[in-house]
């Protein structure tokens, strides 16, 4: 038995290293910059050596091993690659909006490595984004954590394969509008959202038990047990209950945030992050005690009724209450200057430099379950680095270079007018989506509202 285990472990580690070996890795020595480690203070005139994609050494007067290029960062700031905990970049589909629970759908199926948004994010120092399902469903699809390895044609290459699974939940107006008002089914109200969640998890428990019973019976000699129906939707909920998936829940109001905390506690779930969380400041101690924190906007609100009661002090209040707090973009535009967004916590809340930077580096990393690999400049972590002219929290900051796994994917001096990977053979000027700056949370749901009006007419 032991032998088998060892074999298994060996195989597993081999497989892992194999898949890891597929993505490109580089080596670089970044010399003489002001190194903002975020977790271990700031060092001036310090070098960062990345070898084979991993931060090998942070220190003074390091020498480049043979074959390793050197980048002079004199007078510049070197910080960990920025992490966006809420984005929809590089996804061909955002919402499978057709059912209140669609836990079975996987955003990894529809990652599009050609999307120019990846490059634009790199130009803002962002190395990792959390490509999320939309917010049309109470339980949305499983998200993909992406590493911005721009230039690859293979979606597998930009998916961070060693990041844990995460899933999208949504409360409030979006799911009640799509399903309740749009389709005349539960949830029509916030109470309905809670009912969907509790029913879903209870069904998942029954599903889990049915399979456990079957597998137990099947192992008996001469068993005639027949398998229950396979249901990946319920299986995914089971995986949430078993702690294998981190919930990232779209939410605004304090009452619904507290509702989900209670649901999670009742079902023994502790891997839970709130997204948007505009009224998080009202329930900050509860968020701090029972969850993995909140990922918020710096100052974006009033785009619908449930988002009116908001404050720019939200992030600072959450943080001061001990909640893990990050600042996200949820936007192809904001993702390009998350460092500005983080700086707003200094104007509204007087956070220190490290505290403000942690909102876009180590804190989102913790919320995505990848803080052991990225999110700060520490020896042994991935070589994901952004170099800035001017302090990144300054209004005058300009990103200079961005590295992922030690490979440079953005350099302001090599930036071309046309950075597209793919060009249409039949259109000189390709159509541009002018709604880019809007939320993409509700993308692909428009048709549901047509259906709704058709239903109303039918019933008359």
């Amino acid at each position: 038995m032991k032998k088998i285990n060892i074999l298994l472990a060996l195989c597993l580690s081999l497989c892992l290293s194999f898949s890891w070996a597929q993505t490109p890795k580089g080596s670089v020595l970044i010399k003489n910059g002001t190194v903002l480690t975020v977790t271990n203070g700031t060092y001036e005139n310090t070098d960062v050596l990345i070898q084979d994609g991993v931060i090998k050494k942070i220190g003074k007067d390091l020498n480049a091993p043979s074959g390793v290029t050197t980048v002079d960062a004199t007078g510049k700031y070197v910080m960990p690659g920025i992490i966006d905990a809420h984005s929809h970049v590089a996804l061909d589909v955002v919402n499978e909006a057709t059912a209140p629970i669609v836990a079975e759908v996987r955003m990894k199926d529809v990652v599009n490595p050609y999307e120019i948004g990846i490059y634009r994010a790199l130009a803002g120092g962002v190395t990792i984004s959390h490509a999320m399902h939309g917010s049309a469903n109470v339980v949305g699809g499983q998200n993909a954590t992406l590493k911005h390895r721009w230039g690859s044609s293979n979606p597998e290459d930009i998916i961070m394969q060693d990041a844990p699974r995460t899933i999208k939940f949504a409360l409030g107006e979006n799911p009640t509008r799509v399903h309740g008002r749009g389709n005349g089914i539960q949830p029509r109200s916030r109470m309905g959202v809670e009912a969907i969640l509790r029913n879903g998890f209870n069904e998942a428990l029954q599903y889990k038990k049915a399979w456990e019973d079957f597998n137990k019976a099947k192992s008996q000699k001469g068993s005639t047990a027949v398998a229950p129906e396979y249901n990946e939707r319920l299986q995914t909920l089971v995986d949430i209950l078993d702690g294998k998936i981190i919930i990232h829940c779209h939410s605004y109001r304090a009452d619904e945030i507290y509702m989900l905390i209670n649901v999670a506690r009742d079902f023994g779930i502790d891997k839970l992050v709130f997204q948007h969380t505009n009224e998080g400041f009202k329930v900050a101690p509860e968020i701090a005690e029972y969850t993995m924190g909140a990922s918020v906007f710096a100052d974006w609100w009033a785009y619908k009724f449930e988002v009116y009661y908001s404050t720019a002090f939200n992030a600072a209040i959450l943080h001061r209450n001990g909640a893990i707090t990050s600042i996200n973009s949820d936007s192809a535009e904001l993702i390009r200057h998350l460092y500005h967004e983080a700086a707003k916590t200094q104007r509204y809340g007087n956070l220190s430099d490290d505290e403000a930077l942690s909102m876009i580096t180590i804190n989102p990393a913790r919320q995505l379950g990848i803080d052991d690999k990225v999110g700060s400049l520490e020896e042994g972590k991935h070589g994901d680095v952004a170099i800035f002219e001017g302090h990144p929290l300054s209004s005058y900051a300009i990103p200079q270079m961005t590295f992922v796994d030690g490979i440079k994917y953005f350099d302001i001096n090599e930036d071309q007018d046309d950075q597209r990977q793919q060009v249409s053979p039949t259109e000189t000027v390709e159509p541009i989506l002018l709604t880019e700056h809007n939320h993409r949370c509700m993308q692909d749901t428009e048709h549901l509202f047509e259906t709704a009006s058709a239903l109303f007419q039918m019933n008359q």
Partner: protein
């Protein structure tokens, strides 16, 4: 367990076959359509028996739908109708490896009163693996005529539908009197397209649902096995979907997955790797990035028989600044790269075939020539049209080459097939001969007088949607013609007007084209017709839908010229 369903399926097929064959010509044929003989001899033609083979002078005799001899000294049976082939070139009939010619999508069933869009019945959600292309195919469709006219003699027709549309069938493109069925139940047609306004609505939903259907088909089979060999077991729930998916999960038939670009190729292959079915991807347009993957994964590959239009390149202006020029260059580069893909794929050793779904068969030769010019060898192009396609659909025993014993499917041209001025003169399909008019080249200079086309015409056309019509106005503009055409607005509100373009007159033939905007999409329509006096008869070709008859009469000009 699955028998009841199977039986009904078989019975249905039987009944269909019987009715079909009932229309075969009887001994005494009052319609006069029955050909005088089923034996033909094409004498002394240049025969290219298989892709890449040198043309050799030979005589081909076909009888009752079979090639009975090919060679130089063959005896010509007394019953044979002899066609002198001295100036002609003969090739194996083309095979469309994934086609929807002659296929009409069945009407969607009515939604039940308790319909819930989050959990719709399979049939409404586009999950209909039990449907068969045989029930949707009509040999007398103008699309079949168009396909045959382009040299295709056999088609693997796929049903029209949603994410799992149903089972394909192989049809020979023979005469109207027969079912033309060679084999039913050949493959499962699938796509990544969601159902509008219900689950699964998008590609992510479709991929999840496909996994669900596949895994539950497996489990249902296990349950049936346990139930049939034991007592005391709860009756397994058997439904149409899982029953019809059985052959797929057992590896008896492949899944034909519709994909357009490299990302979709990867999606189909990732499902295949996860679930383990046999996979053929069809309809590929952009695949340059996955040529290695297509090779290494060993999946069947069927390219869309179409090259992109060069309108964007042709409309590029001369005097532009550097930035615009750089953009132009990228479009050109992308265009060149797109048409060179087929050649690269062949060079990589992938034995691909072609599909005409969503492509215009009348442009097939033009597209092939573009691919050949960009690096595809003529023999690879020919293999894609014949032998590769035959192997892919399991028909290489009877089709794909000109050989004794093979089905009598031939393309007969006036010149080497891929040369610019070669035209298809005859197509032999299932032993029946179809003749096509050969257009003589336009004479230069002031040779023939051309007809006068200017004026206002009233036209009517017959489409499957019914009879419609409008006004066609043509004005002479120097040496060129311009004008407008009106038609019923596809959005259902009155009439719409479009300018006509590419007006050309050759002898008494008028041709022009125009674009109809329907639901945000531009559909291109081309019209050609024979003018005699004040009337015109011809056909109207609507991209992707086929050709339909059109006739027009010119209004007398009441306005005095004085």
């Amino acid at each position: 367990m699955k028998k009841p369903l199977w039986k009904t399926g078989l019975l249905g097929l039987f009944a269909w076959g019987l009715f079909g064959s009932g229309t075969l010509f009887a001994q005494s044929d009052p319609t006069g359509q029955k050909p005088i003989t089923q034996t033909y001899a094409f004498t002394n033609a240049t025969v290219h028996a298989s892709p890449g083979s040198e043309g050799q002078k030979a005589t081909i005799v076909v009888k009752d739908g079979v090639i009975i001899s090919v060679g130089s000294g063959v005896t010509i049976p007394a019953a044979a109708k002899v066609i002198a082939g001295d100036s002609l070139y003969i090739y194996p009939g083309f095979i469309d490896a994934a086609s929807q010619a002659g296929i009409t999508k069945p009407e969607d069933p009515e939604r039940p009163s308790d319909f819930v869009s989050s959990n719709p019945p399979d049939e409404i959600a586009g999950i209909t693996p039990w449907r068969s292309a045989t029930d949707q195919f009509d040999i007398s469709s103008s699309q079949v005529d168009d396909l045959r006219k382009a040299g295709f003699t056999m088609a693997h027709v796929l049903p029209d539908g949603g994410m799992i549309a149903g089972k394909g069938a192989i049809m020979v493109l023979g005469t109207k009197g027969s079912t033309n069925l060679i084999k039913a139940n050949t493959a499962l047609a699938a796509s990544l397209n969601g159902s509008r306004g219900m689950y699964p609505g998008t590609t992510v939903g479709v991929m999840a649902k496909f996994r669900d259907v596949y895994k539950n088909t497996n489990l249902t089979q296990d349950r049936i096995a346990t139930f049939t060999s034991n007592s005391g077991v709860t009756r397994p729930e058997i439904n149409q979907t899982y029953s019809a998916m059985t052959e797929v999960v057992n590896g008896q038939i492949p899944v034909f997955f519709e994909v357009e670009n490299d990302l979709e190729v990867r999606r189909a292959i990732s499902l295949q790797k996860e679930l383990g079915f046999k996979l053929v991807v069809y309809g590929l347009e952009q695949y340059d990035e996955v040529i290695d993957l297509l090779k290494s994964s060993g999946v069947g590959v069927i390219l869309k028989l179409e090259t992109p239009d060069d309108k964007a390149i042709k409309s590029q202006k001369d005097d532009v600044d550097e930035a615009v020029q750089a953009q132009y260059d990228r479009v050109k580069e992308s265009y060149d790269r797109t048409i060179a893909q087929a050649g690269k794929l062949a060079e990589a050793g992938v034995a691909f075939a072609f599909s005409t779904i969503d492509a215009k068969p009348s442009d097939a030769m033009k597209s092939l020539r573009a691919m050949i010019e960009a690096g595809l060898t003529e023999s690879a192009a020919m293999a894609a049209l014949t032998t590769n396609a035959a192997s892919m659909i399991g028909m290489n025993r009877i089709a794909g080459t000109v050989e004794q014993g093979k089905i009598a499917n031939l393309v007969i041209t006036t010149g080497p097939i891929f040369s610019e001025d070669s035209q298809i003169k005859h197509v032999v399909a299932d032993g029946s001969i179809f003749d096509y008019e050969i257009k003589t080249k336009k004479k230069n200079g002031n040779g023939e007088a051309t007809v006068e086309v200017a004026g206002t015409w009233d036209y009517t056309s017959e489409t499957p949607a019914g009879s419609s019509g409008g006004k066609l106005t043509i004005e002479k503009d120097g040496d060129d013609y311009s004008g407008t055409i009106t038609y019923d607005d596809p959005s259902g509100n009155g009439t719409a007007t479009s300018p006509i373009s590419d007006v050309s007159i050759s002898g008494s033939q008028l041709s022009f084209s125009f674009e109809v905007s329907a639901g945000g999409m531009a559909i291109s329509v081309s019209v050609s017709g024979e003018i005699s006096g004040n009337s015109m008869d011809g056909s109207m070709n609507i991209a992707q839908f086929g050709s339909f008859p059109i006739s027009a009469t010119r209004n007398p000009n009441f306005i005095s010229n004085n």
